[in-house]
């Protein structure tokens, strides 16, 4: 089966391709190659990508799919549907399910549920410690054999530095990236939002930026000690980015991601006690947001990840202190990513690198995040100028916990292709395709 994505503007940072008028040929789920005008074969199914951006499939390194155990919030199938609607061809599922993914059995279950859904690639991330309890190492080798792509105790930060050191050392034997949710638990204990002016005004217990910065700095020091590949999840503070920047200068294998809500909103958004502004790490002050934008611009930030964290409406309808942390993000991330392009923070190529090339590199996914010959035929097709309004009522996720309902966005994924198969087509695709810009530009 062959599919020709014709006449698009192709950006593939892995091959330094950034040109219009190219076609991408997929065959039997794999990439045949990027073709010049005139080289296209006849007798193939054609997907007209005129005026659209064609990129290697986007990889979300950080999602919570709630299955097994909390299917009332999300299932792997509903999460995968939201993912492809948001332009993600691959999603990496954090292990804080019930039971925790600390065994090959749970790992295989997650992979099989992903295959059954048949939408995005669903790659599990294994727990760092058994039950993510921070006491004993989880069976990383067995889980790697079963298919995990990284290890993490996300949501339950490893407080014990000795434990973290051992986990990093052990992970090197299986070439697994260690992801840490940087948060010194004693400093952030009982905190529900960023500590600062707004936490004082609202009388809510704050989580100081220092809690993240202390832990991020520790992880960078341990990365030096262990030579492990360390990835800092959803970095939200100036100090954590400084730690990463310094680690990179030292040549350490340290990387980091940021989540769209952290660069889009500040802690002022909490002012009405809306529990859809409660997440961990919390929305920070404008100084930290400025640091994130700098990091996105200067290359310190490696990836954009959603930290998609669905919760049932009943859980979010509690008092602010009682409501769980987290918001959904799979369907709004690309639109918010385009904000960065339209605001001139980054260019399109960097956006593609942040969402695809770099995540693949960090997790060692050799055949993804690239349009090289032989790679998996995962492709995200985007319209940088499509103006739309996010309507949570139409979300594919089972949950509705987002602060972005009704938000106007410019730029969207219009088609998502996984292993050569179109798994998502924007409902207004025909109209989008009518416009035929001819040339992709950021207006």
């Amino acid at each position: 089966m062959r599919l020709l994505i014709a006449n698009g503007y192709v950006i593939d940072p892995s091959q330094n391709i950034n040109t219009g008028g190219k076609s991408l040929l997929l065959e039997d789920g794999r990439v045949v190659g990027v073709l010049n005008r005139g080289d296209e074969p006849a007798d193939v199914e054609v997907f007209d990508a005129t005026g659209l951006l064609v990129a290697p499939g986007f990889i979300d390194m950080h999602v919570h799919l709630r299955e097994p155990g909390q299917e009332y919030k999300e299932t792997i199938a509903s999460g995968a549907a939201a993912a492809v609607a948001g332009g993600w061809t691959t999603i990496c599922a954090m292990p804080n399910t019930d039971p925790v993914n600390d065994s090959p059995a749970v790992t295989r279950f997650v992979i099989e549920q992903g295959q059954r859904a048949g939408l995005a690639n669903v790659f599990p991330i294994g727990a760092l410690t058994k039950g993510s309890a921070g006491k004993e190492l989880a069976e990383m080798g067995e889980m790697k054999h079963a298919g995990i792509v990284a290890v993490s105790d996300d949501g339950r930060p490893v407080a014990n530095s000795e434990m973290m050191r051992r986990a990093m050392e052990y992970a090197t034997g299986f070439d697994l990236t260690v992801i840490d949710h940087c948060q010194e638990p004693a400093l952030s204990k009982n905190g529900v939002m960023h500590e600062g002016r707004w936490s004082l005004i609202l009388g809510l217990k704050g989580m100081p930026a220092a809690a993240e910065e202390v832990d991020a700095t520790r992880d960078c020091v341990l990365a030096k000690l262990t030579k492990a590949r360390v990835h800092l999840a959803h970095v939200s503070t100036r100090g954590a980015l400084d730690a990463v920047r310094r680690a990179k200068e030292l040549g350490l294998q340290v990387s980091c991601e940021v989540a769209p809500h952290h660069w889009t909103l500040t802690d002022e958004a909490v002012s009405e006690y809306d529990t859809n502004t409660k997440m961990s790490p919390p929305l920070r002050s404008s100084d930290h947001v400025g640091a994130l934008l700098e990091g996105l611009r200067d290359g310190t930030v490696d990836a954009i990840a959603t930290d998609h964290a669905p919760h049932h409406a009943d859980e979010k309808a509690l008092e602010f202190d009682q409501a769980p942390f987290g918001i959904t993000g799979l369907e709004t991330a690309v639109g918010l990513g385009f904000d960065l392009v339209h605001q001139g923070v980054i260019d399109l190529e960097r956006l593609v690198a942040l969402c695809s090339t770099n995540p693949a590199r960090i997790f060692g996914l050799a055949e993804r995040g690239t349009l090289r010959q032989g790679a998996w035929g995962d492709v995200t097709i985007l319209d940088p100028n499509f103006e739309w309004t996010f309507d949570v009522a139409r979300s594919k996720s089972k949950s509705r916990n987002t602060p972005f309902d009704g938000r106007k966005l410019k730029g969207a994924a219009v088609a998502t292709i996984v292993a050569g198969r179109v798994v998502y087509l924007h409902p207004e695709f025909e109209r989008i395709n009518e416009r035929k810009h001819g040339e992709v530009s950021v207006q």
Partner: protein
């Protein structure tokens, strides 16, 4: 001036005019409590529910007496007897109460934002009677009424607030109110309970002091906050003894305050800890006047929110409770 707010959730959102209007209204009600027949018919036929999720004697009683002196029917619900212990959410509890058509719900809750949460989801006017470390607007109003009674003004006064500022809703509401009305506020207490960045709370009129002596220097009003034992357990300070010595208010502190300085405390007091008995029972102490003014302030708030004020000033027709739209957001 008409007070057009539906709820009283905090002082931060109020204008100086609105605050003054509340205080002026409270002043007119103060006389009611001085009469032999301490009752006016202003809220006859109205129902006020006092929904208290946190133990309180003073505030709950004050609201109850205020409602009754306005001829409203007051119903008290405290956490021990509420259905919250049966696992019902705050929202469901409030909606069930609302189905019984109260004209006002007074809420006290240990979590910041609980009254805001109810105000968003319910139809009845909500009065915040203290929410976590957020606000306690009627306390600030009764403190201001007391200051005005004894000093004749708020503007230009130097006010020292001493103690656990970080966790205090009383301190926050007072800082907003006093600075809006032009007072100069200095706060002091242990560094753990008066973080340096607390000064960012308001744009002007607030100063952070490390030593209580510096805050008291030249102060016209000294407000002492209650210290809670659990703060010691959480290692905010080493011992009650040390707190009493270094951060408690003693008689000789007042030598450095302004002449005729007054001393206030929101209660309940820990005698010998944050305030010595000599000060608490001394001539400068207005602690019991605060309690008296508390009833007047709450009468004013209930009158303005539960419909009495609106009818009197706008001659609006009586509300038809049967037609009230329930917001099922």
């Amino acid at each position: 001036m008409v007070f057009n707010r539906k709820h009283l959730l905090g002082i931060r959102d109020l204008s100086a005019d609105e605050i003054t209007h509340l205080l002026d209204t409270a002043e007119t009600f103060r006389d009611v409590s001085r009469r032999e027949i301490k009752k006016v018919p202003a809220l006859r036929g109205r129902t006020v529910i006092n929904l208290f999720f946190e133990p309180s004697t003073r505030t709950r009683t004050s609201f109850e007496i205020a409602a009754k002196r306005l001829s409203a029917d007051a119903v008290n619900i405290s956490v021990s007897s509420s259905s919250v212990s049966k696992g019902e959410t705050l929202l469901d509890t409030a909606r069930n109460l609302e189905a019984m058509a109260p004209d006002c719900i007074v809420v006290r809750h240990s979590m910041a934002g609980a009254p805001q949460h109810l105000a968003k989801m319910c139809n009845a006017p909500i009065v915040n009677a203290g929410d976590g470390s957020h606000e306690h607007p009627t306390q600030a109003l009764l403190d201001a009424l007391t200051i005005r009674e004894y000093k004749g003004r708020i503007e230009g006064l130097n006010v020292a607030i001493i103690g656990d500022i970080l966790h205090s809703r009383v301190a926050r509401s007072n800082i907003y109110l006093l600075t809006k009305l032009g007072a100069n506020v200095r706060v002091a207490g242990p560094g753990t309970l008066v973080p340096e960045h607390f000064g960012e709370l308001v744009d002007h009129g607030l100063r952070i002091e490390r030593r209580i002596e510096a805050a008291i220097e030249g102060a016209d009003v000294v407000m002492i906050l209650r210290i809670q034992r659990e703060r010691q357990d959480a290692a905010f300070f080493p011992s009650m003894r040390e707190y009493a010595v270094h951060y408690g208010l003693h008689l000789d502190h007042l030598d450095h305050a302004a002449a005729e300085a007054i001393v206030m405390h929101p209660g309940p007091m820990n005698r010998g800890i944050e305030i010595s008995s000599e000060v608490a029972d001394g001539s400068r102490s207005l602690i019991l006047d605060q309690v008296t003014n508390g009833v007047a302030v709450r009468m004013a708030v209930l009158y303005l929110l539960a419909g009495g004020g609106r009818e009197a000033e706008e001659e609006a027709p009586p509300k038809k409770n049967g037609n009230r739209k329930v917001n099922r957001k």
